[in-house]
């Protein structure tokens, strides 16, 4: 996805930071094991968050030490693949697959060529991932289709468009074991998905205006020059912080476990910080944190 859902590193304890890395490396390792070498390029912070969230109630997990391509000499400690991590690996591939299919439809020649190449390289992995999580695959396909229809019609609502995207993430909650946990995860994921979609639209504003492609925020605030006014930013901040609040109040209802403090950092500090950076225009997607 986009890398907005990450902890605020300076506020993590050293232990939490080390633990976060075990999740990050753990997901990378799960991707490699399940889907081969190239799939690890899909690793990102958002899915690391999801993996931690899905294993949130667990008191501990199994660790292992191993070398990898990013650290060929020193062994790293990482979480062993478990069902939550495997699910996140499946989802990473499925979401990326449909994103590429989108690119094939409406991007320029070079972008399309790149997408084709990736589809070729990762083809078998995509196939396997879609087989592993067919219900999610169907869900992503349907919701992205609906989202595209809204975009083609130039929907002026950020709620309606972000809803389609948020529902994709929220669908992951169906994997939870109890009814109550399903509802809690649904709220967390829906509102984080909603924030991610809106933040991405704000972040892409200038690029989309230049290319003349649809942008939900631009349509909502009727922006012509690619710049948000202070008044627009205030309104976006209000709507985003309500979503942040909803995600947080749901998060407090989750059972506590080994990942709780890191997840709290992401929800209470990480996402709000990135929200203000994106709104201020100082966010850089490529930056390491």
């Amino acid at each position: 996805m986009f890398g907005y859902v990450r902890p605020l590193k300076c506020e993590l304890k050293v232990r939490e930071y080390e633990q976060f890395k075990t999740a990050y490396c753990g997901l990378c390792n799960t991707l490699r094991k399940r889907y081969g070498f190239f799939s690890r390029f899909l690793l990102n912070y958002d899915f690391t968050f999801l993996a931690m969230l899905l294993s949130s109630g667990e008191a501990s997990c199994e660790f292992e030490h191993r070398r990898c391509i990013a650290s060929p000499f020193r062994k790293k400690c990482l979480c062993r693949p478990n069902p939550s991590f495997e699910l996140c690996a499946d989802l990473s591939l499925i979401l990326f697959y449909w994103k590429l299919r989108d690119t094939l439809k409406d991007e320029g020649f070079w972008e399309r060529l790149k997408a084709r190449a990736v589809l070729l390289i990762l083809g078998p992995s995509f196939k396997k991932a879609r087989r592993n999580a067919p219900d999610f695959d169907e869900r992503v396909c349907r919701n992205l289709g609906e989202l595209q229809a809204l975009e083609e019609n130039g929907s002026p609502s950020i709620d309606e468009t972000s809803d389609k995207f948020a529902l994709i993430l929220a669908a992951v909650s169906e994997k939870a074991e109890s009814e109550a946990k399903k509802r809690v995860l649904y709220q967390i994921l829906y509102h984080i998905g909603r924030q991610v979609y809106i933040l991405d639209a704000v972040d892409d504003l200038e690029r989309d205006m230049k290319k003349g492609s649809y942008n939900a925020v631009a349509r909502r605030f009727d922006i012509k020059d690619g710049k948000l006014s202070e008044e627009d930013k205030k309104e976006l901040k209000i709507t985003l912080s309500h979503s942040a609040g909803m995600a947080a109040s749901a998060f407090e209802l989750l059972e506590q476990g080994m990942w709780t403090s890191i997840l709290a950092n992401i929800i209470y500090l990480g996402i709000p910080r990135i929200t203000s950076e994106v709104l201020a225009g100082t966010w850089n997607k490529k930056q390491k944190y």
């Binding site: 609502s157 950020i158 709620d159 309606e160 809803d163 948020a166 109550a180 509802r183 809690v184 709220q187 829906y190 509102h191 909603r194 909502r220 309104e235 901040k237 209000i238 709507t239 912080s241 309500h242 979503s243 942040a244 609040g245 909803m246 947080a248 109040s249 749901a250 407090e252 209802l253 709290a264 950092n265 209470y268 500090l269 709000p272 910080r273 203000s276």
Partner: protein, 206 residues
């Protein structure tokens, strides 16, 4: 019931003071105000009940079973959703929203052709429950514009404009941004309106 100490997250040999502190922190976390109009309000309420029971039980056990009550603040019964009365189908919409039956509420609202201030307010409430906060705010705004004297509508809009800053945050996760002087003024003005409704006055000059 689970071990009351683990419910409060304290060890059985914790001091009364520590237990009270843990209880207060949890009660603050799951307070109904934090789950106002929240689809998970019932889960928070359950949690609150569990905490209250655990605290009461510990206090009873510690005072030798003489049945000492808890010293913590208690919340009364709480029901989410738009409160207040309403006329005809609007009352039905309110009921549907508070039951969490959003599809029904939406169907009724869409079928109403007389789109007055209350209609916009209820559309706002419905959007809020769906998590469509941008539209919720705009509907509330329209409702207030159409009927500026209605306290319910203004409160809803004010709550929206506060941007959830009053929400609970655990210790150590301080606010980034926080209240601005403008929010404080608008809250005071709102409080003044409440007072005036009841015959009192908070800010004498307005």
């Amino acid at each position: 019931m689970n071990d009351p100490y683990s419910v409060l997250g304290v060890s059985p040999d914790a001091s009364d003071e520590d237990i009270k502190k843990a209880y207060r922190e949890l009660a603050r976390k799951y307070h109904p105000d934090n789950y106002h109009d929240n689809p998970l309000a019932d889960l928070a309420q359950e949690k609150m009940k569990e905490i209250n029971e655990a605290y009461d039980l510990i206090m009873r056990m510690r005072s030798g079973g003489s049945g000492a009550g808890s010293g913590g603040a208690r919340s009364g019964s709480y029901g989410p959703g738009a409160g207040g009365g309403g006329t005809g189908s609007f009352a039905e919409v309110r009921a549907a929203i508070s039951m969490g039956d959003l599809n029904r509420a939406e169907a009724i609202l869409r079928s109403i052709t007389n789109r007055n201030a209350e209609w916009h307010f209820l559309m706002g409430s419905l959007c809020y429950r769906k998590g469509w906060f941008d539209e919720a705010r705009r509907y509330y705004q329209t409702a207030v514009n159409m009927d500026p004297n209605n306290l319910e509508y203004r409160q809803a809009l004010n709550y929206m404009n506060m941007g959830g800053y009053n929400a609970y945050r655990p210790a150590g996760y301080g606010t980034h941004g926080g209240l601005t002087s403008c929010d404080i003024c608008s809250s005071l003005l709102c409080a003044d309106c409440c007072c005036e409704c009841m015959g009192g006055d908070l800010i004498p000059c307005c």
